[in-house]
Symmetry: C2
Amino acid sequence: MINLEKKLRAAGLRPTKQRLLISNYLFSGSHMHVTADSLYSELSKSGVNISLATIYNVLNIFTSHGLLREISIDSSRSYFDTNTKKHYHYYYEKTAKLEDIDIEKLQINPLPEKRNGFDVSSIDIVIRVNG
Amino acid sequence: MINLEKKLRAAGLRPTKQRLLISNYLFSGSHMHVTADSLYSELSKSGVNISLATIYNVLNIFTSHGLLREISIDSSRSYFDTNTKKHYHYYYEKTAKLEDIDIEKLQINPLPEKRNGFDVSSIDIVIRVNG
DNA sequence: ATTAATGCAAAATCTTTGCACTTTC
DNA sequence: GAAAGTGCAAAGATTTTGCATTAAT
């Protein structure tokens, strides 16, 4: 069992009650992909009531402090991934679910590092499947 | 100079005045990337006034009829690409501009074709650069 | 005590929809 | 004349913001 308070402090964030509750949901088990809405309703379902504004606030601040990674899949929603290591995604179009692809499973040649003098900040790959 | 009316009819679409004006902007020169808003304001700037609702309508119907391809870059906006062939993208974070990457310029190994029995419908790659 | 976070409602964006009017076939 | 497209304003959906209250250091 990880120490969530320590994790938040290490990221430079105050361990408030709401952040700890959200962290407990996000970081206690295996990696997951959430939207603001899915997180809000999952927490509500288990009796944890945190305002949607705070959910957004926490997701954004966790992302900017490296605890989450935001993924662009669909222009209508933002997904957040608890796996912050480099990796790619399968996206199941019918269920709107994501699945991680380990970076070693997919090789890119040549791996770009610069473009027009600018550094590559990330490489986002989404493989959409019709299921 | 391409025949836009023919292009629309070939896609199964009626060549209305608005669709022809939008086609003339999108398909007369080289490939481009637009958002509903950028298209609306560029047309307005050149004296072509088409309601935003129709812009959205036309972008969506062009996309569903294969004349455009939608790209997910940013959850806050939808981009539409006049290049409908398979290809990837650079994304310039500061300017929010896209640049095409020819499919031969980037090799993926192994190229996935199926996942859990489902067909791969598309592979979206976005290489973000800090410029 | 100071500084930061929360929660609510309101506002801001982007996109879609309903419906009367107009255009295309 | 029937069917489809357009335009407006209104409604939806997602996300952000302003501000008073509450909590953390």
